[in-house]
Each structure stands twice: as C-alpha cells, then as structure tokens.
C-alpha cells in the first residue's frame, strides 16, 4: 500500500510518502489508522486526534468503515484550507 501524508501530518510523521505491507487484520480505514498509530511516536502524535485527520483512499474521501487493500493509495491529511 502506498501511503501519503500532507501538511502537519507529514511534519509529525516525518514522512511524505511510503510503501507499507499491511499486516493481516487491517482491512478498513479505522484499522489502518489504529495500526499506523503503533508504528512510532511520530505516528502516534500525528494520529492522536482523529477528528483532525482526513483520509482519502485512491483519491476519494473515505470513512472509517471503508475498505483498504494492498494496491490502494491512501492519503492522510488535515482538513483542507485552500481557496
């Protein structure tokens, strides 16, 4: 799975983009976020307040129960502030 981080999620995780192998038991957005939190203090901090995190799966906004799989591009970012 390809993971992308934007804005302060990138700053806190220290990663803009990474390829990860999903462990078994990670099949939706909620499970993915839970798993990511355990990958280190930067991830834990970035994902401490999930109200402030938006997720896109294959460039579509996704909800906690939406499925994720090995071939997906998943992006994590704060609420958008363009315009």
């Amino acid at each position: 799975m390809k993971l992308l981080y934007f804005a302060w999620l990138k700053t806190k995780t220290g990663v803009a983009q990474e390829d990860v192998e999903l462990p078994s038991g990670v099949a939706n957005v909620r499970e993915l976020l839970d798993w990511l939190k355990g990958r280190g203090p930067g991830y834990a901090e970035a994902l401490a307040d999930l109200d402030a995190v938006r997720v896109a799966v294959n460039q579509e906004y996704a909800r906690p129960d939406d499925p994720v799989g090995p071939g997906d591009e998943v992006a994590l970012f704060p609420p958008v502030t363009g315009g």
Binding site: F6, A7, L33, L50, V53, Q59, P79, V80, T81, G83
Partner: protein, 162 residues
C-alpha cells in the same frame, strides 16, 4: 475547465477566453482569492500552498461538474495555484457565466464555498513566530453546508473517525 498551477493567472485574459464568442452569456461572476498580509491579528510574510496532485484535479473537476448539474451555466473555470505566495498574490480564480445573473452569482459562490472545504490544499503561513499550518475554519464548513439542502452530494468530507 479547471487548472492547478504554480504560475500566476491573468484574470482579464481568463474571462475573455471564457466568454469569447458565446452570445448567450448575459452575466459573468468572478471570484479571486488573494493573499492577505494579516491572518486574524497575526502578520503574514508569505505562505506556501501544498496540495495533493491528482486528487486536487479530481476534486476540482467534480466540484465544477456539480455546479453545472445544479445551474445552467454557459461556461465555468477554476484556476488554483500552489507553491509559495506573497501578500497581494492571487491564489484562486473562480468564474461562471450564464444567461442570467443570479445563476452566475450563485454558482460562483457555490464553487468557492465547496472548493474551500473539499479541494486538498493546505496553507502554511510564515509569520513572525515561524511557519504555521492554517487551521480549517468552522465558518467555511457552514458556508459549504448552505449548499447541501438542494442536492447533497453524499460521501464527501466525512470525518475519518469519530
């Protein structure tokens, strides 16, 4: 039409191109967003707009398509910049043309409201205390929400988790 670009845009040229040769257009509404030198009471020296290439274009196309499904537009255009911008610089251009003025004005307001809450851009402001990521404002959600009554698009901008 939508464009995401680092370069500045020429409002006059953009809208001339948009209305050129279309004699059905009675009203053209335009919104231009610019970088201010203050954010609330904090001085801003410059800002950097980050975006999510690919998804940005996809969302802008969808927002434009939604406007054209809701209003009978003769033409529409969204141009959004990214990269480093200074106070006074143009950030975004939204233009809508229709046979009637209210249609153009409403669709223009809709586009900028939706764009603000749905297009994946993030502003990093450089102030006296260093660089800070701009926080999303509830008032923008409220503004975008005004348009939900008519025909909720569904499935967009939900929270990732409760």
């Amino acid at each position: 039409m939508i464009r995401v670009q680092r370069e500045d845009f020429d409002v006059g040229a953009e809208i001339a191109g948009l209305t050129q040769g279309n004699r059905k257009i009675g009203g053209l509404a335009v919104f231009v967003g610019l970088v201010r030198d203050m954010a609330g009471d904090r001085a801003v020296g410059a800002m950097t707009l980050e975006h999510y290439p690919g998804m940005t274009e996809k969302m802008l196309h969808r927002i434009e398509a939604e406007a054209r499904a809701r209003w009978p537009l003769e033409a529409s255009l969204i141009v959004h910049r990214y990269g480093r911008l200074e106070p006074g610089d143009q950030i975004v251009l939204v233009a809508t043309a229709s046979s009637h003025r209210q249609t153009a004005l409403e669709a223009c307001g809709f586009l900028i409201d939706w764009l603000k809450t749905k297009a994946p851009f993030w502003k990093l402001e450089e102030g006296p205390a260093g660089a800070e990521w701009v926080e999303a404002r509830d008032s923008d959600d409220t503004a975008a929400g005004r348009w939900d009554e008519a025909a909720p698009p569904g499935g967009e901008d939900p929270k990732a988790a409760e």
